[in-house]
């Protein structure tokens, strides 16, 4: 790996971008002469323009391996357009982005996993609206549902980036085959299967909602999935806006439906003990007992594919796989999901170019070629998917019958969506009554 030579004399000159993790040769500074001939590999990037000597910063909650994959993905873009990208991933994104913005030191771009947080910055006037090019590309590549989440008060700010499908139930194909169990396609079938597994002496479900300072989120995902099914997509939207209250009988009954599984000692917590063990089991470990035959089913998002113990084969004929968490009947296909949105705090031309590139199928395809990745971009080549679960996720996202809704806790005000909703559902698992828990959430909804 070569790094640019740093000269002592250049201290004080803000010339040097960080070359963290990248290994490219220094692109020559623009000398003001005629544009260099475009090489073949730079041909696809010619449309973004040339920005020699510019640099942009990206702030994001995605870090480590996944961050390195991102950096590899846009390396070519960087080399061809001359934009140096400084990428910074942090586990404290939600708190730090606010400090950086309030402190007058925002990044050029940020990847927001919560449209609710994005809206807060948009309303405070901190974000730059998306350029016409980015808007056009988004219209072309994403469904209206997805575009809506990057839109605040009628202005479109942020195009989606990655995606994950949350409405999945993980299972062991081998265990199913040995017992002759079939993949359920309706809620009733799912509950029958649950009883069948329980009769076999195996705890049918396992779950873990411990996640440090985000403890409780997997429980809220469960609830959201059922509200989406029982109250319907429109009702779900109203619930997210708080026009439908948490203590509305419709919501209460949906929560109780989850409780019939998660708060039932006969059904949980496979491999970990009684109901209460759910709240002290790390979500990363929640489904692992499936691999040892101590648990039958685990409801968790597509990204759970990364959490299986090393050597576990994720495939329809492998050790573990996932099926779509069925709706009440086969006619509707509501899907809960999540993703990130790319918002800009500055409107420099190179920032717009980067935003446009991230919106393109080229980016998603290049990223998918490297390792597991799911995008709701309609232009992606699904055949590039690295594993069967990514493929299934993208097929579900693209299915015209699918009614997609974003993870509700990411849309609500953070005091609820990252606060009381998580907290009360944790208390609920530990014995608090449904009514009390939901009343408390309603009460905590910010009034202004």
């Amino acid at each position: 790996m070569s790094r640019r030579p740093l000269l002592v004399g250049s201290i004080g000159l803000a010339l040097l971008a960080s070359a963290c993790g990248t290994s490219q040769e220094q692109t020559p500074q623009a000398t003001g002469g005629a544009p260099a001939p475009v090489s073949a590999e730079c041909q696809p990037f010619a449309k973004y323009g040339k920005f020699e000597g510019t640099k942009i910063s990206i702030y994001s909650p995605i870090r480590d391996k996944e961050a390195e994959l991102f950096e590899q993905t846009w390396k070519q873009f960087s080399e061809c357009t001359g934009v140096q990208v400084t990428y910074e991933g942090t586990g404290e994104f939600e708190a730090q982005i606010q400090v950086r913005v309030d402190g007058g030191n925002p990044p050029d771009l940020a990847f927001f996993p919560q449209p609710g947080l994005l809206a807060r910055f948009a309303k405070a006037g901190k974000l730059k609206p998306a350029s016409p090019e980015v808007t056009a590309a988004t219209d072309q590549n994403w469904s209206a549902d997805w575009k809506k989440y990057g839109t605040v008060d009628g202005t479109f700010y942020a195009a989606p980036l990655g995606a994950s499908v949350k409405s999945f139930v993980w299972y062991s194909p081998k265990m199913f085959a040995e017992n002759g169990w079939k993949i359920p396609t309706t809620w009733a079938e799912l509950m029958t299967l649950t009883d069948t597994i329980a009769a076999k002496g195996i705890k049918p479900w396992c779950a873990g909602i411990e996640s440090g300072d985000a403890t409780g989120w997997p429980a809220t995902d469960w609830i959201e999935d059922i509200i989406l099914r029982d109250v319907g997509p429109e009702g779900y939207d109203q619930w997210v806006d708080h026009t439908l209250k948490f203590n509305d009988p419709k919501v209460v009954s949906a929560v109780d439906k989850v409780g019939a599984i998660l708060k039932n000692d006969k059904y949980v917590n496979g491999g970990y003990g009684p109901v209460k063990s759910i709240s002290s089991t790390a979500f990363q470990e929640g489904g692992v007992p499936i691999t040892t035959g101590k648990c039958g089913l685990h409801r968790q998002a597509s990204f759970y594919a990364n959490f299986w113990p090393e050597g576990t084969k994720v495939a329809e004929d492998g050790d573990v796989f996932a099926f779509y968490l069925p709706g009440n009947d086969t006619s509707s296909k509501p899907v809960l999901g999540a993703g990130e949105f790319v918002a800009a705090f500055t409107d420099k031309p190179e920032v717009k170019a980067m935003q446009l590139y991230l919106t393109s199928p080229d980016f998603a395809n290049a990223r998918m070629k490297l390792a597991t990745y799911v995008s709701a971009n309609k232009g992606v080549d699904i055949s590039l998917a690295q594993n069967p679960i990514d493929k299934l996720s993208m097929e579900i996202l693209r299915d015209p019958a699918t009614v997609f809704r974003f993870d509700g806790s990411d849309l609500m005000p953070a005091a609820v969506g990252a606060g009381t909703f998580w907290k009360e559902m944790t208390a609920w698992i530990n014995g608090k009554s449904t009514q009390e828990a939901l009343d408390a959430i309603d009460k905590s909804w910010p009034t202004n």
Binding site: G212, D213, K276, S277
Partner: protein, 319 residues
């Protein structure tokens, strides 16, 4: 091993370090030089650097926080005392206050007494250096490391499975049933406090041990000749002689405890009736976008520390 590390690329940083140290020497040298040349404004010159920096870094933020506590969540509207009303009427207000007080009492008490006992016991033994280093070690381990350590201590697995948590393994070895330590209020608060005590005991040991070394040998010798046993030695000689250091440790721990939130935040995030004011403050100000409420909680912390300030004033007057 393929150690792909370009030392040359790191040189500019070392130059910066050098510049930093040179700047330091220049500033301090200048101050001393001025102090040598003039006897006027001595106090001002000596206090100025610290006061200016504290004004920028601590005082201005304090005033800003106080102002924000009367503003709405997005800091756009004046809301009067709303945030304070919210603070005392939210459902968990009393619980949070109770927990904060438990922390405030137990942490300084446990840290200081364990540190003191240990410092006295290992004093002048052959293993003193090693013994102190062992207790100091938790302080040197980053918070991330401490978090993992205690995650392992408290981890729970059902009775039939292999335990991975040390505490439950010990319980099982003794014939008991594994428990979920962090779930059962109010004991869970004590288990969280234990983590902080574990981290901080090294601080108390180091400071108090050094204070013990400072007790004049004549006093100790005189007491010994009087036939003082270990207990009367401790209470009549050691403790009075290091009273000041004990106060320093206690006060530091009390203030640190009020501000501390990482342990609770990362281990339970205030779930299971373990919330404390500082966690609420952090969550409201930085995660919920409720700057006003977070600021009000910070102001309340400041109020809570006032009795300690008042005590400090008394100590100071007594000198």
């Amino acid at each position: 091993m393929d150690l792909d590390f370009d030392f040359g690329a790191e040189q500019p940083k070392l130059v910066m370090l050098l510049l930093g140290v040179v700047a330091f020497l220049a500033v301090v040298g200048l101050i001393i030089l001025v102090l040598d040349r003039t006897s006027r404004f001595t106090a001002t010159i000596m206090l100025a650097p610290a006061l200016i920096l504290m004004t920028i870094g601590l005082l201005v933020p304090t005033i800003r926080t106080a102002l924000l506590s009367f503003m709405s969540g997005d800091s756009q509207r004046f809301v009067g005392l709303d945030n304070y009303v919210w603070m005392f009427t939210q459902p968990e207000a009393l619980l949070t206050l109770r927990n904060t007080l438990i922390w405030l009492v137990l942490t300084p008490l446990l840290v200081t007494s364990i540190g003191l006992v240990y410092a006295v016991l290992v004093d002048r033994t052959r293993f003193e250096r090693l013994a102190k280093a062992l207790v100091f070690l938790p302080m040197a381990i980053s918070f991330v490391g401490a978090g993992i350590i205690w995650k392992f201590v408290y981890a729970y697995r059902p009775e039939e499975a292999d335990q991975i948590g040390l505490l439950n393994q010990i319980v099982v070895w003794l014939g008991g049933e594994p428990r979920q330590w962090l779930l059962e209020a109010p004991y869970n608060t004590f288990f969280l406090i234990l983590v902080l005590v574990w981290i901080q005991a090294g601080f108390a040991t180091v400071v108090l041990s050094a204070a013990i070394k400072g007790i004049p040998a004549e006093i100790v010798e005189a007491a010994r000749l009087d036939g003082a046993g270990p207990f009367s030695m401790f209470f009549r000689v050691t403790l009075p002689s290091i009273r000041n250091a004990v106060i320093v440790v206690g006060v530091t721990q009390a203030i640190g405890t009020l501000k501390l939130f990482d342990i609770v935040r990362t281990m339970t995030n205030g779930n299971f009736d373990t919330s404390v004011i500082a966690v609420d403050m952090y969550n409201n100000a930085f995660r919920f976008g409720e700057t006003g409420k977070g600021a009000a909680l910070a102001v309340f912390l400041f109020v809570l520390v006032m009795p300690i300030v008042w005590y400090q004033r008394k100590v100071q007057k007594a000198r």
